[in-house]
Each structure stands twice: as C-alpha cells, then as structure tokens.
Amino acid sequence: MASAEQSPVTLQHHNLCSRVILLTRKIRSDVASLLESYVERQGLDRTISLDLVDGVPGAAVEQGGELTVAERLGANLQAYRAFQALLGEVLEQQRSHLTPLDTDFHASIQSVLLQVAALAYQLEELLALLGHGRPAWEAAGPEDPGRRSFFEMKLRGLKVLQELAHWTVRSVRDLRQVVKHSQGSGTAHGGQAQKE
C-alpha cells in the first residue's frame, strides 16, 4: 500500500539507493578480502599505524547530522572519485614494482576499482535524480608515484584500501539516511499529488 502512494520518481530514488547500497556492500565485502591478500602480499601488518599517510580521503571526517543530502552524497562521490584514482595508482604500483607476476591479485584490485567507478557513477545519477548538480572533479591529481619509496607505496595502498572499507560503511549509513529522507519527502509529495 505504501508503494502505491509513492510517486515514480520516489520509487526510482528508492530503487537507485537500494542498488547503490547493494553495490557498496559488495565493495565492502570485496575490499575486506582484498585487504587480507594485500597485507599478505606486501608483508605488512594490519596493526601498522597509517596515521602519517596522507592524501587518502578519510571516512571519519564528517560533520554529523549537519550535512544536507546533497552534501552527504557529494562527499561520497568525491571520495569514490578519489579512490578511483588511488586504486589506479595502487594497481599500477603493484603491476610495475611490487607484484608483477601476481595477475590474480591485480584482477582483484581491478575488480574493486571498476566497482568503485560504478559506484561513483551511480552516486552521480542519484544526485541528478535528486535534483542536485554533479560536483566537479577535484583538480588535485595523484602525486608522482615514482618519487615514493616502495615502503611508502605499500603503506599508501594499505591506507587506500582501509579507508575505502571505512567509506563503504559510511556510505551505507549515508544512503540509508537519504532513503529515509526521500521517503519522507516523497510521501509528502505523493500526498500533495493526490490532493491535486
């Protein structure tokens, strides 16, 4: 009965949000297993401190409930765009410097990379569907990886994957709030439509 009251746009929001959430959860699952294999292949320790590794968008930085839906989705979109670039760097570093023969590992990173790209695209769609503009790509490009030591490359890759995992958690939470918000506004909108 509730779906009958929703407008097609709201339904589309809902469906798209569901797909985004599903994809985010899939990414989270894949990143979790990728982290395991990454740590193993790089000879690292999961408990290693990565606080000093910069240039990776952190999921913990948020303003709580002060953000609007657009800001929330925009922050997600920017983060995943950054992760898209960062994962590309990680993949290239692994191919060229660290694990050149481990094609299965590369395929795992590539898979996550593609999913992150798809997630960014879906977030763009969601923003557009909600009537918000797509935020522009941030100009800050990746640093020259050739200047980094191999150890820095490894730490950076680990940080990227860890933060990506954190971001997926945050994204699911954000998207649920968006769904909640859109349902509230959609129902009101539907009610108005009926009145009209």
Binding site: G43, D45, I48, Q94, H97, T99, P100, F150, K154, L155
Partner: protein, 1089 residues
C-alpha cells in the same frame, strides 16, 4: 748624546762585537748556528734548518758553504733565515755556516758534517683532490695527486687513509694503499665500501704518504696527514625520519645493517625486519641501527623494514633479497626465416627479483659487434631474443649476457646460420585430387629461403596405412611450394600433412602443417569377383555366387554385378544383379554354359570371372574328418592328376533360421591341403566341406569333409536306460547324441557306477567306491555291468567325451534283484543256533535240577512242628498279635522289624559321626560292641515271649531244639575278625533258626547290650549273611560294623532274605565281587560237593 746617530751606530757595533766575542769564547759565539736538522721531500734538495743561541736576529745573515767531496770547491750561499736549501749529496756533506752581521762581518762560524743518515725523507703532505660518495652502494671515492713528478725516478709509495666518524672522530677504518710513483704527477683513486649505509652517519677522511726509496740511507718518515675532508652529511638534521638503505637489493645470505634516522625530540620504539624486532645499536645522535644476518630470499614485493618512533611516527624501507643471475642454460640460436636469428635459453635458477630488479639480457654478436637487448616475459617464462641476419654473414658468435643488481653471467654460442634452419610451420596447405591415383599439394613457407634447399616430408595416411614421402625443392622467398603425390589408391580417403627443413644441413623439422583429407576418384574394379556355382538337385537351375570385392579391389562403389551365361560362345542372357545381392539363379534349360561375372562401379567394369556350369559325375565320395588347427580347420586331400584348373573347397555356414551362406576358397592344382579360416566359424560347430576338382570339362566332387574349428565337450549327456537287472548284473543301453550337441567328434563314453541310494547327496562319486568303464567303440550301444551285489542300489553315470573334453553326466539309480539262496541261509542259521542253545540249556537245567530246586524253591519247615512255637494260650491273652499266632503259623511281623531297624540306624549314625567313637575304638577293631551291631531284622515277638519265661540260668543252647545237625555246622558266635576268612561256599545255603537271647529281644530296650550279639540273633535266613552283605548293594555300610547288618532298608523274602526290591539309589553302586546269582554259585554250591 744618544741623539748622535754615528755615535749610536758605533756603540751598537761595539756591542755586537762584544757579544760575538763572548759567544765565541763560550761555544764560539752566541750567533753561532747549531742543532742542524736536514730533511728532504724529494731526494733532490735538502732543507736544513738550524738554531742559534741568540734568538735575536738583529740583521744577521748566514753564509752556508757546503761541499760534498774534496775535489770540489765549496759552494756558498747566503740566507737571512736559519734555513737553507742545499742539494742532496751522496755520502756526507760538509756544511759551514757563518753568521754574518749586517755589515757582513763574520760573527761566528760553525762547521757541520752532515751524513745522509742524518737526513730524513719526509714526503710532501698529500692533498685530497676529491671525496665523493655513492650512497646506493655505500661507497666512498677518494682521489689525490701522488706528486710523482717530485721525484726523478720511480719509487714505491705507500698511502695511509683514515676514515673516521665525524661526530665522534672514532676511526672506522685505517687502510694502507701502495702505489708506484712514476716520476710524474698521477691522480690516485681509492674507494671504500661501508657495511652500513653512508646516510646513517657522516664520515671524514685524511691521508698521508710514505716514500720507500731503497737507496736512501736516511730516515724515511710518513708525511703529515692531509687536511680532513668530510663526506656530504645527511644525518645531522634530517628533514624527516628515514630508514636506510632505501629499496636496496642484496644477495641471499648477506648481512645487512639498517639504520633509522630521526629528528630531535624523537626516539626509536623498535625496528623490525619483516615481522621480527631486532636489537638496536646507536650510530650517532640521530641514528640507530639493526643488523640482520643471513637474509633469505624475499617475496616479490620485498621484505619490509620499519622503524617505529616515539611519540608518533613510522618510517620504513623495503629490502629485496635475491640471487645473481644464473648462467643462461641451453642457449640455442636458429633462424626460421633467414631474416632474424632467434636465440632462446633457460634462465636457470630464479633470482627472486622482478620488475626493475629482474635479470636483463643482452645478446652480443662478436663478429658484427652488434648487440640487442632482449625483452623477457617473466610472466610467461619466455626467454628469447631476435638478432638480425646480416647479408654475407653466415657465422655468428653470440654471447648472451645476463645481469641484475646482484651480478652478471653469460653464455656463448657459435653457429652457422645455414646449419640452424628451423623453418616456420607450412601454412595455407591445400590438397587437390583430380585423378584416381594422384593428388596435388601446395603450401606456403615464409622467409627468405633462397640460399637453401628445402626437404619437405609429406605424410600420407588412410585408415590402414601410413607413409611418408620426402620431397626436395629449392627455397624461395616467401613462396608457395608444390608437390605431387602418385600411386594413390582409387576411391580411397587420404589424410595429408607436410613439414619441412633445410635439405643440406638438417637441423630440425618444422611443425606439421594442418591436416587435409581428400578422397581420390573412382577407377574400374581391379579384378573380377571370386565366383562359384551350385547346380540344383534336379539340374535345371544353377545358382551363381560371388564374393564382394575388397575396397582395395573395388576401386569405387560397386553398383552391380553382371552375370552372363554363354552356352557356346553366344551369350544366352545377361543378368544385372544390384548390390548387395551376391548370388543369382540361372535356368539352364538342360544345357551347360560358361558363366561370366563382372563387377561394375561408376568408373567401369572389372575384368570378367569365368566358371563352367558343368558338374562331372562323381563316384563313391568319401567323408573325411578335418582337424582343428589354430583358429581354422585343417583340410587335406589327395592330389588328383586330372585336376588341371585347381581345387575348390566349398562350405556353408548357417546362422539361425536363415539359409546357410555359401562360401568357398579356390586352390591351385598342386595344393593338397589348406587351413580354412573364417570369422564366421564358431567353436563346437560342425562344418561340412565339399572338395571339388576343376577339370578341363567341368567340376567334380572329390571329397566331403567334416570339421570343427575347435572341438568342445559334448553339450548334453547321452540318454541311457537300464534294460535288464539281475541280482548281480545290469544291462545299460544308450542313444546317440545329436550332432549339434556333440560339439566335436565323439571319442567314446565313460560309465561310472557305484553303490548309491537315490535321494542321497548328489555329489560326485567317491574315488575309492566308483568303478569306471570306458567305451571307445562308438558302435556299441549297450553294456552289461557284472559282479554286482543283489538287492543293492547302484548309481550309474554315463558321459560322452570328445577331444574337447568330457560332457555332462546323467545319473540313474538301479536296484539289483534279491538273491534267494542267501535269504534262505540267513533264516536257517539263526533258527539252528536257537535250537542248539535250547537243547544245551535244557540239558544243563536237568543236570542241575537239584541245585536249582534248593536254590530257588527250598523246603520251608512248618512252624507248627516246632516245639518252640507251641505257645501257651495264657501268654497270648490280651494280645491280638499273639492271638493271630494261635490261629496261624507264625508269620512275620513287619511292625516289629521297622522299630528295630530304626533303633539300629540311629546307633549307626552316631557311630559314624562321632569322633569319640573313633577314638574309643580298639586298634584291632575287635570291640564286641562294635561287632554286635547286627540286629536281628526279623524277630517274631512270640518267640520273645516264650523265651523270656525260662530261668535265667537255663543254657542258651537248650532253646535250639530243632535242626541240631544243621546247627552243629553253624558257628553262631563268630568272631568278627574271623568273618572274612569264612568261605562263602561253605557258609552259604540254608541257615538254621538260631536261638534268641531273651534279654536282647525285649522291646523296651532296643539298645545293644554287652551280651554277645550272637545271642540276639533270631531267625536267620537260609543263606549266608556274608553273602548278602556283599551281594546286596543297598546294604548300609559301616566301617566298624563289618557290614553284618546288611539287610536293613529292604523288604526281603521270608525264605531267602534276599532283597526283593533293591533301592534305586544303590542300583548303580559298584558291582560286588561275589554275586549271589553268579554262575559260580550255580556250580559251586552243589550240596554234594
């Protein structure tokens, strides 16, 4: 006064003169030179310096005159300082130094003899020209000028180089470096590799020199240390913490030192190599290190080394541990196209290093002095390199160099490119067949092959054959090559493929091309079919048979067979018989003809096969047996000189209900035997063959033959019956086994027979019981079995056998008839024996009748005739029992006997159980009490009554009034000890009725008294009590009692006192030694004996 200059000058001169005088007087003069020291830097000039007592110069100058030897005049020089430069002279030098005042007046003169030994050779202080560092390999490079031009000739020089830690000025190393001075300036260089990264701490370097002039006899000393030079610093104030070495590659097994540089305010928490923490040691104020020994190969991403800092920080590096490249193995260079030479190799042991660190290969050709860098695909493990083929160069001397950060290796190979041709796989391979026997092939091979000839191998295969055809052809440039294959079979499917190599210098075949399959065109059948004919029994029709041609003979698909009949060179009629029929029927109409058969396919007809229809009459044709041989049937026949055109052996194979298939084989006229094989032959099936001889005017049946491909045991047992039986023989008859069940030629029958009942377990005969009869005469159809027992069941078993074995059996059970004579004998003998026994028994009984009578029917005395039993009437009054006696002869009173028995039994039990009784027994066992246990078991109370009345002193013997004669034979007071000695024979028999002591028989006192027990004995049986004792198995047994009371517990006959009903409990007791009914009594207890 002092303002006058002239005065002052005068005074000064005077003073100096005064001083000089004083000095000259003391040591000479104060201005006199002394303490002459001379050194040389270059063995050319000597620098001498001296001192003077007066330290004031005051315008003094020195005149030095020196001379090396007498003939030379001294050379003088003047100098203002206390130092002079004079040439180095051989031997000693005389030096005279004169101190001159300002006016040139000598103040003092000193002469020195300077031997060479007093001159020191001190090289000039070296100067470091350059000090640089290669941090990646922890190496310092030092350069300096040896100043060899100072010396005129070659000299050995030694250099001492000292490396110190800058912060602590602690010597890290001090090494000597020898060089040779060549007379001209040379730049010397030296490098030093640290075992820890140079970044970890700062170093400074200084150097000094020593010249070893062997002919210089003076002192040779080290030069002064050069000024210190410092390695570029990195550790004093690092911008951020760092771990060194950064991303280094080392050999497996190396010892590696890692240092961690940190900033002010930081300290190191720990340093880890991999996952293991190592102990830190301090290098400088801002640097600490760990040392890892014998590192093992790392994973592809390297081994991490990290430094955890306090309060917060993490720095690290990656160490790649691997191996130097192995020598390339199995280097092989060959050309495929004469455009490039491809070298391939096996890299050997993996280096565990990848990407930038992986092994790089360079292929160098020494003749052309060209090299190419090889691209290695580590992912696919492909190691090969292409080198261009040069025109006019056939010999190539390759060196493959392998290098990685840890080392290098190489492998060489010299080849003649013409001898290393490995052609590409033939491409675009086509095959076309435009005739029935040949095919055209074409293929393409890339490459500039003009300078060689090709050898190509064409493989031709079909379902049953395979062959290779080698074709040589001239090479061409990127060309198609063609070949033709002949001698193919018509209408056959072939598979072709081709490969090529260099013809002149074979190296390797190329890979096979792809396969191509073609079928050649059809050709007429190669020969006519094999034919045979059979005339119908009446002779009106003739059936013509032919065999299908083999595919190799048919040359195509046989469509039909044409059968013609030529009676007299004129064709009667031609039949076109389509495939798959292989026979046809021709009506002869009473005329014979020549049959001609041809096979036809699309390409044409086969040559004709001919056969005449004429059957010549045959005489008495014999039937022979063939022999199985291998998988065939061996048939032989006698040669017939009239057979001119061969023999034909015909047979027919039937399968199931279908009419049999005629088959035949033809043999030349000189053949006399053959082994006929057919896939249709089956073991155990009889085949009939007919041998025909081909004569000039027709075929004649010569012989019939039967045979088996393999003989088997008969399938069934022969049916047999028993025709006749008697008491000792059986006549058995059997029938023939049907031919189809024989499965071989019957060789005979085996008849087994043995005793056996029908219904008993139907197992095989027991070997020891059975009888076997082998019947080899096959015409015999019956057999009589003799010597059997009458009225006995026999089991018969008949089997047939062939060469293949014995067939199944069939059982029959027969009972022979009864033998009447034996029966009669069997009846008569027992009857006769019974009669004889009866007669003998009767005779014996008659002879022993007296004894029998006495034993079994003794005369019993009448009590009425006894005085003892003549009771008075008053005695018996009031007593009903006695009244009975008045009326009747004394009869046993069983009540009285029971009471007596129970009393005695009680006593016995007491005696048996009581140990006291045992102890009281006399050793000889002659206790009269013990012996008196025999209590009279039968006691007529009337006797007691009568006996109790006489006076006590009346002799006992007076009561024994009857049978005195018998009593005298009896010994009533038998000592128990003497009892065993009593002869049973003599004591047995009738016993008199002994007297009974009156006091012992009183009913009030049943216990035994001290009186003689013999007196208590009342009526005695007419038998020996000892015999009873022994013979009665149910007698109570007491050890002390000597078993005299053996009659208790059983009713007994009045007359015999023999137990009438012996208790069951004692029936099984051991049989006595002496039985009362034994035959010994029969014969020994004769009264007359």
């Amino acid at each position: 006064m002092w303002d006058n200059p002239s005065l002052r000058c005068l005074l000064a001169i005077a003073f100096l003169h005064l001083l000089s005088l004083i000095y000259s007087q003391e040591t000479g003069f104060p201005e006199a030179p002394g303490n002459l020291k001379c050194i040389t830097h270059d063995l050319n000039r000597t620098i001498c310096s001296w001192g003077a007592t007066s330290s004031a110069n005051l315008g003094l100058t020195y005149k030095i005159c020196y001379t090396n030897s007498e003939p030379f005049s001294p050379v003088c020089i003047e100098t203002e300082g206390k130092r002079a430069d004079i040439p180095v002279a051989m031997g000693s030098t005389n030096i005279q130094i004169t101190t001159l005042n300002a006016s040139g007046t000598p103040l003092a003169t000193e002469t020195f003899v300077l031997p060479e030994e007093n001159v020191s050779l001190i090289p000039l202080t070296p100067q470091i020209l350059n000090l640089s560092a290669d941090f990646s390999i922890y190496t310092l490079y030092l350069k300096w000028n040896d100043r060899g031009s100072v010396f005129q000739h070659e000299l050995d020089a030694s250099w001492q180089i000292q490396i110190l830690r800058k912060e602590t000025m602690e010597t890290v190393t001090l090494i000597n470096y020898d060089s040779k001075l060549t007379g001209k300036d040379s730049i010397l260089s030296w490098n030093w590799t640290s075992d820890i990264p140079l970044e970890c701490t700062s170093y400074c370097v200084k150097i000094r020199c020593y010249i070893n002039e062997p002919y210089f006899t003076g002192r040779k000393e080290w030069s002064e240390w050069s000024p210190i030079r410092t390695v570029p610093e990195k550790d004093t104030k690092p911008n951020s913490a760092m771990v060194f070495p950064q991303d280094k590659v080392v050999l497996v097994g190396s010892n590696v030192t890692f240092c961690c540089l940190y900033n002010e305010g930081e300290s190191i928490k720990y340093m880890k190599y991999g996952s293991k923490s190592y102990p830190l040691f301090r290098l400088s104020k801002w640097s600490s290190a760990i040392k890892v020994q014998n590192v093992s190969a790392s994973i592809s991403s390297g081994t991490n080394v990290w430094c955890s800092l306090v309060p917060d920080g993490l720095e690290g590096t990656v160490l790649f541990v691997g191996y130097a490249p192995d020598t390339p193995q199995n280097l092989n260079c060959e050309t495929r196209t004469f455009i490039t030479i491809t070298c391939s190799w096996n890299p050997g042991r993996p280096t565990a290093l990848y990407t930038q660190r992986q092994t790089k290969y360079i292929l160098f050709e020494r003749i052309s002095r060209e090299n190419v860098t090889c691209k290695v695909d580590e992912l696919n493990k492909k190691h090969h390199c292409d080198f261009p083929v040069h025109a006019n160069q056939n010999i190539y001397n390759f060196t493959l160099g392998a290098s990685n950060p840890l080392g290098q290796a190489e492998s060489s190979l010299l080849i003649d490119v013409n001898q290393r041709v490995h052609l590409e796989t033939p491409d675009k391979f086509t095959v076309s067949a435009n005739s029935s026997t040949n095919a055209h092939l074409s293929w393409y091979i890339p490459g500039n092959l003009i300078q060689i000839r090709l050898l190509c191998q064409i493989e031709i295969s079909n379902s049953n054959s395979e062959r290779q055809l080698n074709v040589s052809m001239a090479g061409a440039e990127n060309s198609n090559y063609r070949a033709r294959v002949d001698a193919l079979h018509p209408y056959a499917t072939y598979t072709f493929r081709v490969r090529c190599s260099a013809s002149e210098h074979f190296w390797r075949w190329s890979k096979w091309s792809e396969e191509k399959k073609i079928t050649t065109l059809e050709a007429p059948p190669a020969r006519g079919p094999d034919i045979w004919r059979e005339r119908s029994p009446v002779g009106e029709t003739l059936t013509v048979f032919w065999k299908p041609l083999l595919p190799s003979e048919a040359n195509g698909l046989i469509l039909s067979h044409e059968v013609s009949c030529y009676p007299q060179e004129i064709m009667l009629k031609a039949h076109e018989v389509p495939v798959p029929l292989n026979s046809t029927e021709i009506k002869l109409g009473g005329n014979d003809c020549l049959i001609i058969v041809v096979a036809k396919n699309r390409a044409g007809s086969s040559p004709p096969s001919r056969i005449t229809s004429v059957d010549l009459p045959s005489g008495n044709v014999k039937t022979e047996l063939a022999i199985a041989k291998g998988n065939g049937i061996y048939i032989s026949w006698h040669s017939d000189p009239n057979v001119t055109c061969g023999y034909t052996l015909k047979w027919c194979i039937s399968s199931g209900s279908e009419p049999c298939t005629v088959d035949w084989e033809m043999f030349p006229s000189n053949a006399t035997d053959a082994v006929i094989k057919s896939a249709l032959f089956q073991p155990g099936v009889r085949y009939n063959f007919s041998l025909y001889g081909c004569k000039h005017n027709g075929y004649q049946l010569l012989q019939n033959i039967m045979g088996y491909m393999k003989e088997l045991p008969p399938k069934v047992a022969p049916n047999f019956t028993v025709e006749e039986t008697s008491s000792d023989s059986i006549l058995v008859k059997w029938e023939d086994i049907p031919v189809e069940d024989c499965q071989g030629f019957l060789k005979g029958y085996i008849l087994y027979f043995a005793k056996g009942e029908k219904g008993s377990s139907k197992t095989s005969f027991r070997e020891e019981d059975k009888t076997e009869k082998n019947i080899t005469d096959l015409t015999k159809k019956s057999l009589r079995i003799l010597d059997l027992q009458g009225k006995t069941s026999y089991r018969l078993d008949l089997r047939a056998y062939t060469v293949g074995g014995i067939g199944p059996s069939k059982d029959l059970y027969v009972v022979t008839k009864e033998n009447s004579v034996g029966l009669i004998i069997a009846i008569l003998i027992p009857v006769a024996v019974a009669i004889v026994l009866g007669v003998v028994t009767s005779i014996l009984c008659y002879q022993k009748r007296e004894w029998i009578k006495e034993t079994f029917y003794p005369d019993i005395p009448n009590p009425e005739n006894s005085k003892a039993l003549q009771f008075q009437k008053n005695i018996c009054e009031g007593n009903t029992a006695l009244k009975t006696l008045e009326m009747n002869p004394c009869t046993p009173n069983s009540v009285e006997v029971v009471e007596t028995r129970s009393t005695v039994l009680k006593i016995e039990d007491t005696e048996i159980i009581s140990p006291v009784a045992d102890s009281e027994l006399p050793e000889d066992g002659s206790d009269p009490e013990t012996g008196s246990h025999v209590v009279v078991s039968y006691c007529p109370p009337i006797i007691e009554e009568e006996i109790s009345s006489p006076p006590i002193d009346e002799p006992v013997g007076s009561s024994q009034v009857i049978y005195i004669d018998i009593q005298s034979m009896y010994q009533p007071q038998v000592n128990p000890e003497e009892e065993p000695e009593i002869n049973f024979v003599t004591t047995a028999g009738y016993k008199p009725q002994m007297q009974l002591p009156i006091n012992a028989m009183k009913m009030e006192s049943h216990s035994p008294t001290e009186e003689d027990l013999d007196k208590t004995a009342g009526y005695r049986p007419q038998a020996n009590t000892n015999v009873w004792k022994l013979d009665s198995p149910d007698s109570p047994v007491s050890i002390q009692s000597n078993n005299e009371n053996g009659s208790f517990g059983s009713p007994c006959s009045i007359n015999s006192r023999q137990f009438l009903i012996p208790p069951k409990d004692y029936e099984d007791s051991p049989s006595p030694n002496n039985t009362g009914w034994s035959f010994t009594h029969f014969f020994q207890n004769k009264p007359n004996d």
